[in-house]
């Protein structure tokens, strides 16, 4: 469905992307996360064919994103994080215009989506708030019948209620077999929605995989209480913290088995384990910046 191979992009002497390879499969919701300025939007704009990659290949629907942009865009919908519209047009007019430029006579189910997102289409764009402008772009995308949705922080201006509507809508899309590339800073949103995730940092993809796979690569948090004082954990534990009556430690998920065996000798009275949240994962990768592997 969507595939990039070894994309690099330089702006003058600044290397914004290096060797970015991604693959989004049909029917998949793919999360794309990374710190500010890491290259998410740049990657997306290459996929949209508005920036030209310095090297590497990028394809959508098996077609080249730069050369066949027009063909690809017939079946693609895009929502940016910061939506600017024509101040003198109403939201409804913009949605109709976009549908027409897509080659449709009318947006499909426009009223239904306007209602779902609680958007008044008769107001001039100049008077919309940021969130409402974003809703215009979202409604336009959802009424487009596209097969692939590329969303760059699509919810950065939405309130929690609308955020939920958005999440439901995305799930519906995926049930219909559509694919979604979702870049977001709202990690809980990505965690709830996405089948697979890529983490990008300083222009390079540092991790890709399902959340399960990614969790495997990181640490699990354990809370241990035992009859005897627990010792000898230093070999495994990353962060060791005494709580009243117990210990809180983080261990590499790969070594969980060894750790539990070791703990068994101390007479465990309580053992809680929590999988890392995406946020932990993110922090884990983010904090490695500069310090090498920690």
């Amino acid at each position: 469905m969507l595939k990039t191979e070894h994309i690099t992009k330089t702006f003058g002497s600044f290397q914004a992307l290096q060797d970015v390879s991604l693959e989004v499969n049909e029917g998949e919701i793919f999360g794309f996360i990374g710190p500010n300025g890491s290259g998410k939007s740049t990657t997306i704009r290459i996929l949209l064919g508005v920036l030209q990659a310095t090297s590497g290949r990028a394809e959508i629907f098996g077609k080249d994103v730069w050369k066949d942009a027009v063909e690809i865009h017939k079946h693609l919908a895009y929502v940016p994080g910061d939506v600017h519209l024509w101040p003198n047009l109403t939201g409804g007019e913009v949605i109709d215009l976009f549908a027409r430029l897509r080659g449709h006579k009318k947006p499909v189910d426009k009223d239904k989506w306007l209602e779902r997102f609680d958007l008044d289409p008769t107001k001039k764009c100049r008077t919309y708030s940021k969130g409402n402008r974003q809703k215009v772009a979202l409604v336009s995308a959802f009424t487009s019948q596209a097969d692939l949705f590329i969303l760059d922080e699509p919810t950065s201006g939405l309130d929690p209620l609308m955020e939920r509507v958005f999440q439901e809508s995305i799930r519906e899309l995926s049930r219909e077999g559509k694919s979604v590339l979702l870049s977001s800073h709202i990690l809980s949103e990505v965690e709830k929605l996405c089948d697979r995730v890529a983490i990008i940092r300083e222009g390079a993809i540092i991790e890709t995989g399902s959340l399960e796979e990614l969790r495997h690569l990181t640490r699990t948090q354990l809370l241990v209480e035992a009859k005897q004082p627990v010792t000898g954990l230093e070999a495994w534990a990353h962060e060791l913290e005494e709580t009243d009556g117990g210990l809180r430690i983080q261990v590499d998920t790969e070594q969980l088995d060894e750790v539990v065996r070791h703990l068994a000798g101390f007479g465990i009275t309580k053992l809680e384990s929590a999988p890392p949240t995406l946020e932990d994962l993110f922090m884990h990768h983010y904090e490695r910046r500069g310090g090498g592997a920690s």
Binding site: L48, L51, V70, A77, P80, H84, N88, R100, L101
Partner: protein, 533 residues
Amino acid sequence: MKEQASRHTLELLRFYLRLDRIRLGIWLVALTFFTVIVPPAFLGLYESDQERQLMAETMENPAMTAMVGTGALDDYTIGAMTAHQMLLMTAVVAGVMIILLVTRHTRTDEEDGRTELIRALPVGRRAGVQAALLYTIITAVLLALFTGFGLYALQIDTLDFEGSLLYGAALGGTVLVFGGVTAAAAQLADTGRGTIGLSITVLLGAYVFRGVTDVTNETLSWLSPLGWVSKTDAYSSNAWLPILVMIAAALALAVAAGILQERRDLGGGLLPHRAGKANAASYLAHPAALVFRLQRTALITWGVGMFVLGVSYGSVLGDMEAFIEGNEMMAAVLDPTSDLSMTEQYLPMLIVVMSMMAAIPPIIAINRMRGEEQKGRLDPILARPVSRETVFGSYAGYAVLNMLLMLTVVGSGLFAAAAASMDDAFPFTMIWQAVLAYGAATALLLGLSLFLQGFFPRLLPLVWGYLLYSFVVVYLGSLFQFPEWVMNLSPFAHVPDYPVEEMAFLPILLLSGLALLLGGAGWAGFRKRDLEG
């Protein structure tokens, strides 16, 4: 592949036309209206051949040529008069029109991210630029037809069919050329403001260059797009070659814009950007310093432009001196009893035009305040413990300094070039005083801008109309013999024409006082009104 890149060009064109139907309509109607009211007025004022010929003779001097261009002065019919006096100026205004319109649909849309939304749709890569160029063509054709047939419809003897069409075609051709210039500039600059700045620089550069070459060596005027306008010689020899040159130039610019557009990334420009400083200098903490910093580039660019303008007009003075010495007729027109040199008697006319041009940058400086307000960039400044009064005052103070600087620079340019080219040069203080006196008139425009910004910000563009009005009455005043009050509505009419007239301080004080009053009222209004955003 080719079709792909152009897909939906026509759809976008229709969209632009729909967005602009009122704006474009007003421009076209206004330009046509001001074109067709002139010949009947001339007909009323200059009935006999003698009167017209006398007018031609007062027109025949380097200062006038620099301002309005060359014309058929030896057979000064109503038609020749219209083409000589009006065509070039109308062409400049038509150029400004298309620069503003094309920028709206190219770089401004791109800067604001609207182009990205469009390009994410199945719309060809080149469709946007092509639609803007087609829009230019439609505007050009409409303007040419409206003005051409409008003039012919007056049924004045010397406004024949071919001449009228050519007159219209010269305006349309100017629209084509500057539409092309803007489309290309939109690829080079990476902001809407930069695109307008670059294109207007080309337009004013073409005007000033033509002014100098029309006086010194008319053949060289072929190098200026505005030179082509006068070279059509409409209603006299009717030369169509310049129209072909305009079309060719527009085509070349359009192709260049298309190629540049396809080669570059969306959002990027082709002009280099230097890396800025990471830390703000501590003086930036004060809003006045911030205002200055944000407009520094504009200040320098306009300063250079004003100096060039002063030099250009100053260089004409040398020709003027030589011309007057060899022309007895001129000596009769100018007051022979005056103890001023003849060149001095022409000085005020150049100075008033220069001072009107020098009013443009300070007015822009005040418009920036509204621009910042609309983009929501005043909010974070005002959210800090900075009062609205301080922000408003900073912009106002900066505008006044800007004005004084521009007047000084333009006067220095005039002085330098005059000193170099004349046998009998002017003292600097004389020029400087003459120029600065017009600061009072500009100050009134600034006061009015501040007043509108304080109370009715949406009416701020009216100030441009007022400046244009002032220009038109000065430019055409003697020609049309407007009633006194029409002239007096312009603040520039009240400034003494030093050194021809005595320096009178009363009108200067009155103008400045009124300016202060308006500005103060605006200041009070700005404290109370809602910010736009």
